[in-house]
Symmetry: C2
Subunit: 185 residues, 2 copies
């Protein structure tokens, strides 16, 4: 049955929220029915909100990158962001963590609109990371942002793919020490 405009709007948000988490957790193979169920709806209702699964994916990418860049900004310092990013907690929390670490392996296989949304988001994140570097030279702060992002994404992606708890922690800790310029414990 029809629902009020407020409830409709809430349902839409819940769909995006559910997709945002499930896409990162399970990748783009996650089903429309599962996303709808996680939002408390049936799969049929989904199409009252989005024209296709692809359209939802685009919105979900926009939302998850918006959220995670807020998170990045809320870190007190760049170093504390690195610390949080390379924590076992983040490695375990794929569904709620960095969209780049969660999705960059999948995105190249998806439709152009999805790749474009992802790309736009990454460009913004690099911009934002560069602006946080304590470096008056604009070019070199962008370079440092790119290298740090690649290194952190690579470390978390590899850590998540590894079966041994020890190797996982070794990767995260080693990269963390390097990025924070710390000597071995």
């Amino acid at each position: 049955m029809k629902v009020s405009k407020e409830i409709r709007a809430r349902h839409r948000e819940q769909l995006i929220e559910a997709a945002s988490r499930l896409l990162r957790e399970r990748g783009f193979e996650v089903g429309v029915a599962e996303i709808a169920a996680a939002a408390g709806l049936t799969h049929g209702a989904f199409y009252a909100h989005f024209g296709s699964k692809e359209a939802l994916c685009v919105e979900a990418i926009a939302q998850m990158t918006r959220h995670s860049s807020e998170l990045a900004k809320s870190s007190e310092s760049w170093d504390s962001y690195i610390e949080a990013y390379l924590s076992p907690r983040h490695a375990r929390n794929r569904g709620g963590g960095c969209p780049y670490a969660a999705l960059s392996g999948d995105v190249p296989r998806e439709a152009a609109s999805i790749k474009a949304a992802f790309s736009r988001a990454l460009e913004n994140s690099l911009e934002s990371a560069a602006s946080r570097m304590d470096d008056s030279n604009r070019a070199s702060s962008r370079e440092r942002a790119i290298v740090a992002t690649a290194t952190m994404v690579g470390a978390v992606v590899l850590a998540r793919a590894v079966a041994s708890e020890d190797l996982r922690e070794e990767i995260l800790d080693t990269v963390k020490r390097k990025l924070l310029n710390k000597r071995p414990r």
Copy 2:
């Protein structure tokens, strides 16, 4: 109909070879039928060689990591390996390139046997990379291998996910200069 032992063995190799390429290109969603077709067989024949898709994936991971570590060793120097790894050519060649950059995003969602095969291979690659470092200190050469691997994997994974040709090359070049300790062009 039955075929000779030699042809049977060749078919098996072709299945592993096709899977090795297609898994990296398309991920684990690639179908048994498509892999069999790429090997010149029908999907039914597949089960004369492997008990399940999962079993083939395990073999394919073992083979592709074996091949790519040979490739790594065949590079004249560590620096020339970095150069090749961070080339647009490698970014374009997902199906024939580094298995870690191609599959680490997908592996955490797969069966334990696949994760274990991947993990074993990565551990060997780290070992082998560490042994190539011109550093008598064993601990620090391992650390450098881990950091360099994470950075290179992250760079290629991000570069592949990006829609803009310019950003793709910027990521690869920036990380390359950093790893080779070169000043900007």
